[in-house]
């Protein structure tokens, strides 16, 4: 057992973990049940978390490796989050089980490429499965979020 500090959504949590404990299980144990197991093999994206802004399948990640790393889970996003807002507005959810994973993938993409269009969005979401088939709404939500960010930067740049 190893004591580690997980920095989850900005909050430092000291936990003791086994060497082979998965980040997925440790985060769920800390109450972050927006992180979910859908496949256990990196193929569905339900367990997505961001580690230093990079998406990771927490079902394949050992918790010991994330000592001190800044982690983001969907439930820890700020109350007014542009990607969340656009998902709600575009009705990008059915059962909703897969959606937190898509939201975090969207965050990663837009942070890297605010100019992302449909092709880039699709390429980035290629490993996330929505069995309910909400892909079109999800794509719309991220197109709108990208537009919103581009507009925000434009207004910021405009002289007051």
């Amino acid at each position: 057992m190893t004591p580690i500090d997980l920095v989850v959504n900005g909050e430092r949590r000291s936990v003791t973990v086994g060497d082979d404990d998965l980040l997925l299980d440790v985060l769920r144990g800390l109450g972050h049940t927006s992180v979910r197991e859908g496949c256990g093999v990196g193929a569905c994206g339900a367990c997505t978390v961001l580690a230093d802004g990079h998406s990771v399948s927490s079902c394949l990640a050992r918790a010991v490796r994330y000592d001190g790393v800044a982690l983001t889970t969907a439930d820890g996003l700020p109350a007014a989050d542009d990607v969340v807002e656009e998902f709600v507005a575009a009705r990008a959810m059915q059962c909703g089980y897969c959606i937190p994973g898509f939201v975090l993938m969207g965050h990663e993409l837009l942070a890297e490429n605010p100019d992302a269009g449909a092709a880039e969005i699709d390429a980035h979401l290629e490993g996330n499965i929505c069995r309910c088939g909400t892909y079109l709404e999800i794509r719309t939500a991220l197109e709108n979020a990208a537009r919103r960010r581009r507009e925000a930067t434009r207004t910021e740049k405009e002289p007051a």
Partner: protein
């Protein structure tokens, strides 16, 4: 039952562990190891996690190209400007592996050491003539990637050794293309993939270099020389003739031998046609990158959606 995890903080310790432990295994990105553990088919006594070893995640320019430490992630290879600049084909191929999450975690060394015959990156590393650095407590040796894959799920890595880096020469001028074909869902593992690079040859005017994935028990490489005046069709015919004896697919749920062979020919033909077509007439004069730059979106459309 469960393997003991070691987390060395320097290379010497890591190599000593590999030399001294019973049945050790390197833990790189862990994306493959974790799945094998879950499936109950991995029987190592010890896992040596090399994430904490300094220097192994360095990606640097070298006089002849670039050098990627074993722990550089696939995603970094896909997105780093250095790779885009020196080996755009490589960046493109890394960008087609699995999905962004796996690419964020998986390492270049773990990827090749995994030795799966369906892996994408080896196809590009083969045509680029990359060199693998293997280190052990006894020292380092360098193995051409073309000699790295020795059999079905077998590589040249010896016990006590680990991959420490991959050296990739700058991509020579000429057209390059990668085609990955799946036979079921679009984002599935490939049933056939081919990286093709057309470049100046020692004999003949040009060389078509071909790296194949998923089409034989290991990734395989072949090259064929052709005069620059040859047509696209001639180039495709020459490429197909060259790969024919090498295609030796394994049947599975994604298709039988005949089907994979068929798709292998399509992958080679499509990639060769595109690469040959994009090759400027005078390979010495024209900057080759022009034909290659920023083509990922077109690629996605052309090869993924159909």
């Amino acid at each position: 039952m469960t393997a003991t995890l070691h987390r060395p903080r320097d290379l010497g310790t890591a190599l000593d562990l590999l030399a001294g432990l019973g049945d050790p295994m390197v833990f790189g990105g862990g994306t493959a190891v974790q799945i094998l553990l879950k499936q109950g088919v991995l029987f190592a006594s010890d896992l040596v996690d090399i994430a904490g070893v300094p220097g192994l995640a360095d990606l640097v320019a070298t006089p002849g190209g670039l050098r990627a430490g074993t722990m550089v992630t696939l995603r970094r290879m896909e997105t780093d400007p250095l790779v885009h600049d020196r080996a755009p084909l490589l960046a493109q191929v890394y960008g087609r592996v699995a999905n962004p999450r796996v690419r964020n975690t998986a390492s270049v060394g773990g990827n090749i050491a995994h030795g799966d015959y369906r892996l994408d990156p080896p196809t590009a590393l083969l045509v680029l003539d990359a060199r693998v650095e293997l280190s052990s407590a006894a020292g380092a040796r360098h193995v051409p990637i073309r000699e790295f894959f020795t059999g079905f799920q077998e590589t040249t890595v010896r016990s006590g050794e680990m991959v420490t880096a991959i050296d990739v020469p700058t991509q020579p001028l000429g057209g390059a293309a990668f085609t990955k074909l799946s036979s079921l869902a679009a984002n599935d593992w490939p049933v056939a993939s081919a990286a093709v690079l057309v470049t100046a040859a020692d004999v003949g005017d040009r060389e078509i270099r071909i790296g194949l994935g998923a089409l034989a028990p290991t990734p395989v490489y072949v090259a064929v020389a052709l005069p620059a005046t040859a047509s696209d069709d001639d180039a495709v015919d020459a490429a197909l003739a060259a790969v024919e004896p090498l295609i030796d697919p394994l049947p599975d749920v994604r298709g039988g031998v005949a089907h994979k062979r068929r798709l292998g020919r399509v992958a080679v033909a499509d990639a060769t046609r595109a690469a040959w077509h994009d090759t400027p007439h005078d390979l010495r004069g024209t900057p080759g990158e022009e034909a290659i730059d920023d083509r990922r979106p077109t690629f996605l459309r052309r090869h993924r959606r159909h």
